[in-house]
Symmetry: C2
Subunit: 278 residues, 2 copies
């Protein structure tokens, strides 16, 4: 069973999708989805996908737990899947893809789930063989924000090297999970993410160093400030570094932020100087 | 009527408070409350107090609107009030008090409403005649946060030079408005406010310079970040300067914040340098 759909091609993959009379799509139950990486997100993502597909998950070390509805598999079994979702850290993405690439079968679809998009898209384009398809996605949630279900949560979908109809099927499939699918280019994602996600994580880490406490005299604004720390400092530090480093627009964001900090700080240096001159 | 309770003393003021059988306090309806300053907060505060007291409001210029239930008055009429709330900017507080002080009648109670506390408390202590009482308060709300009522909103109450029983009456009175009265020393307020209100306003102004927009791919954390801007940048710039300048603990907060920004920024300078060395 596990090897049943080995070496199928894109055409058979598309044929495995059927449209019911009212437009509801279901997938050939024999289509196998692989997930590389059982970290916090990989665990969550594979468990979600297993609600609809037959899902196999591979992790380099065997110590990570695997969801009950997902089959833990070997590297070879992963490479026999029709679609492989890569759920690895941004900084290990290139290394992982390079190690997999020689063994990826033609017509396999590789999908990344990184929180930056131009970098993994360009890595996939340069490393993957021409007969391997790829898509770039950013599921903007995880086990914390999705703990009560993923209904309405955003997933950014960047078109890649992949048959249009297959892309459309995946979009529909994500929508059936209740996700809010947002289509944009990888560059558009990163440009916008620098001044949303990037700045939030940066500010969160800055504030996280200050050991701020909840306070009886905390205002609504202060509670939002604590919320930022909570939303960013629980993520692994590696994610923070990777977000800043692999989004090409984050450097500019940091420079603008630093300039604004300097401008604002300078106002008080001036006032303090005027005071001491009096 | 307006001059009826002229020159009454603290004792008569206390006697004007009556305890009903079930402990409910009501005030002598002839007790006159004055409000100096009809800015956004003075307007809001005088209107609130007028729900319980006879309130007179004075503003240096006549162009500011006055709530319907409040009587606009002259400077002399204001000085005939039993209690005078000062609703002026922190930076004009000393000047206003110096100009009023020679004409403040003995046994008048002066109450400040500034967003910092050690500074106005020390100004009142040094400027006011010994026979004039004072209290320092920080109503931590305004027309925006209190637009649907003040129930549960915090008011910081710092004991001043004032008869204990009068202080207790005011605390009870604020509680009857539904306010959450928090008693603490002026120093404790400022120390805590530096790392709640002070840092929030600083971060809000830094972010406010960056022209951030709401975004389809904005996360929960990013929405909190936009919330901080909204909660701080709508206030007058003068309040921001005053908060930073007149809270003696805000300088230290800014230094710690700057250090944390530098530490966090430095991490990426190091990474960028390592990259370019490769």
């Amino acid at each position: 069973m596990l090897f049943f759909r080995n070496n199928h091609n894109i055409k058979s993959y598309i044929l495995s999708l059927h449209l019911e009379p009212h437009g509801y799509i279901y997938y050939d139950s024999s289509m196998k989805i692989g997930v590389y990486g059982l970290g916090r997100f990989g665990y969550f993502w594979s468990e979600l996908l297993a609600g609809k597909f037959e899902v196999f998950a591979y992790n380099r070390s065997a110590d990570k737990p695997c969801p009950e509805n997902v089959k833990r598999c070997s590297r070879d079994e992963l490479l026999n899947c029709d679609v492989i979702y890569l759920c690895v850290s941004i900084s290990s993405f290139e290394k992982v893809l390079k190690s997999l690439s020689p063994d990826i079968k033609p017509d396999t679809l590789i999908v990344d789930t990184c929180s930056v998009k131009t970098y993994p898209a360009s890595v996939m384009k340069s490393i993957l063989q021409k007969d391997v398809s790829y898509l770039a996605t950013h599921p903007m949630f995880g086990p914390d924000s999705g703990k009560n279900g993923v209904e309405g949560l955003p997933l950014v979908f960047c078109s890649g090297r992949c048959d249009k109809s297959v892309q459309q099927e995946w979009i529909s499939s994500f929508q059936e999970f209740g996700l809010n699918v947002i289509e944009m280019s990888a560059e558009q994602h990163d440009r916008e993410a620098a001044f949303t996600q990037g700045i939030t994580h940066f500010v969160g880490r800055v504030l996280g160093e200050l050991n701020l406490q909840s306070s009886e005299i905390g205002t609504v604004g202060y509670r939002s400030l604590l919320e930022i720390i909570e939303q960013t400092c629980n993520d692994p530090m590696q994610l923070f570094y990777d977000l800043q480093h692999y989004n090409p627009f984050n450097h500019d964001m940091r420079m603008q932020l630093m300039q604004s900090v300097d401008n604002t700080m300078h106002k008080f240096t001036d006032i303090d100087r005027e005071e001491s001159d009096l």
